[in-house]
Symmetry: C2
């Protein structure tokens, strides 16, 4: 036993001497060394019992329901960096967004573990493993995948955009479609951001990485906890928050989603955005001029609003950067850059930004 | 780079020389060394499109829906044993069953990784992260937790059974209740066992560990794949399968679930149960005589049927063992022995059985 302990100590020491990359190697063939992993539910509420419980005649009125929490699976690598990263999916998706890519490569979960970050993968309240809702819901099995193929900018079904970074293939598309999972209760940004704040209250200071619809949750969460050290948002959609008097007019949008609106919050809440570095990334195939091409106009509006928002936050002393990937020479990305074929390049770009902001 | 590689090689060699326990140490404070981890969706079906897709006017009829798959998260430790273990939850539960316990200790996921087994955690079709269903469903937010407190044999709410192995505490019970997550489509044992067979077709030969309602899925799965090396079933409920002419009469049951039935399958399917070792464990507080005490009669019937089933399979040449834990001196377990306070003892018991069967 003593020899075993000494040798494990030696292995750990090797990791310390040669840096975290020696143990949590960036090469997918090398083992991940995990100091701790587990899961927990954060936030949520309780429907209380209204009368005494009789075990021989149980009624809903005499019982409770715990719901509206988030579910989180976390892994902390050996020699972890100071701030962990918490990852929130977008609309119709769950933690899988950040796990294995549709074509079976490593996603951001493993990639950032290998870079030495603690990784928290979230299922938001009323989605995936956080399915227990305090509000009833009907889920319709309504075929809609060709729409999402377009909205997620793989192309216009069945054609992919030229030079797409999506790993084209029948099996891959099958896995990608199966990443979809329904809301088990009404989508409620307050409920979700409350749970996110509760999560950060529990885990302490960290970096919040959001995707798509999760972007709006990220902004709200920043107004509810002081534990965000940075926000990284991939392709945020609607939900940009501006202070009174500075809310831009809706942007005219030709898609079924209607005009792209901005939302008002008190200036004191808005100032939270000026206290931390924020970076926003958009993939490819987003036009700068209005278009009636399917789907593209929604993302034109989103990116335009993101730029207005960055300008407004920065005017108040903030540090927001919006990156349209083609502008820095990275082409072909879909709405899911972190699981596209070039996701290691996308991860390195983020790692470099975190380093610049002193967060690694 | 070369020195780093050599030293990693040395660390791996240390692991090889001193056995897998040196690297995937059984002590919760020591790191887990994971050779590979990821997620995938297995099985499922597709609602096909009935007409051509027009991206400017998407209709349900012109689109597809991929659903009814299982979602699986897997981890393979360094120097893994030959056969991995796949874990299926019970009714109203998801993969969390096997993860962190309600009081924050390590569950079977980490415990068996530390013992050197590959671990596959399943969300069954229409549950948790496998939420996409091809059949619509309404989820009612109906308070029912005091009922489950009893059905899961923690006690009769708000009182715990004397000497319970549940980690009593307000926070723990809160986390335990939040392990509940709804069906997102109708429960369908054929759909689920099809997905389980598809999973084993993908991962190869392994040990199937089931819980409660999952028990019935395990039996069905054994008739659909040749890749099961063993079945381990914790507290299986309804779903025991007998050959024609040997189906026992329903057992009279005083609870709301009604009389406890057995089901008939062809003898050639039944013979699958005789080809592999099977062990069934039940916790504490299950009476041998009929009772009108809430909940207990259901489990009396289940265990009685399990014993009849074991007898029948063994008569046909099988190797089924039913263990009522108090009979071997282990007292106080609930319906969730693998996350009770003594879950390491429960795991060691299983590990010993696997060893006896030549499966470690």
């Amino acid at each position: 036993m003593k020899i075993k302990t000494v040798l494990i100590g030696l292995c750990l020491a090797v990791g310390l001497v040669f840096g975290s990359s020696a143990m949590a190697a960036e090469n997918a063939n090398e083992p991940l060394m995990i100091q701790e992993q587990g899961s927990f539910m954060a936030g949520g509420t309780v429907i209380p019992a209204k009368e005494a419980y009789n075990p021989l005649a149980p009624t809903p009125e005499s019982q409770t329901l715990h719901g509206d929490h988030a579910y989180i699976f976390y892994q902390i690598p050996v020699n972890a960096k100071k701030y962990p990263m918490a990852f929130l999916h977008g609309a119709g998706q769950f933690s899988r967004t950040w796990e294995t890519t549709p074509d079976g490569r490593e996603g951001f979960q493993n990639i950032f573990l290998r870079k030495g970050y603690g990784v928290y993968l979230i299922d938001q309240p009323r989605r995936g493993n956080a399915g227990r809702s305090t509000v009833s819901e009907t889920i319709e099995a309504k075929p809609d995948e060709q729409f999402w193929f377009g909205q997620f900018r793989l192309g216009i079904y069945p054609n992919y955009y030229e030079g797409t970074q999506f790993a084209v293939g029948e099996e891959n598309l099958d896995q990608f479609f199966r990443q979809i999972t329904p809301n088990t209760g009404p989508f409620d940004a307050e409920v979700i951001s409350d749970a996110m704040a509760a999560m950060f209250d529990r885990i302490g200071a960290g970096i919040f990485v959001t995707h798509s619809q999760g972007g709006g949750i990220g902004w709200k969460t920043a107004t509810k906890t002081k534990n965000l050290k940075a926000i990284v948002s991939y392709e945020p959609g609607s939900g940009f928050l501006f202070p009174k008097g500075e809310v831009p007019a809706p942007i005219k949008n030709s898609t079924a989603f209607g005009d792209f609106k901005a939302f008002e919050i008190p200036l004191e809440d808005f100032m939270a955005f000026t206290k931390i570095p924020i970076v926003i990334y958009y993939g490819d195939n987003i036009p700068t001029e209005p278009t009636t091409e399917p789907h593209k106009d929604y993302w034109r509006c989103a990116m335009q609003m993101a730029n207005k928002w960055a300008e407004t936050v920065n005017k108040h002393g903030g540090d927001v950067t919006v990156v349209y990937l083609p502008n820095i020479g990275i082409h072909g990305n879909t709405h899911f850059p972190f699981s596209d074929k070039n996701n290691r390049q996308i991860a390195d770009l983020l790692a470099q930004w975190l380093k610049e902001k002193g967060l690694d």
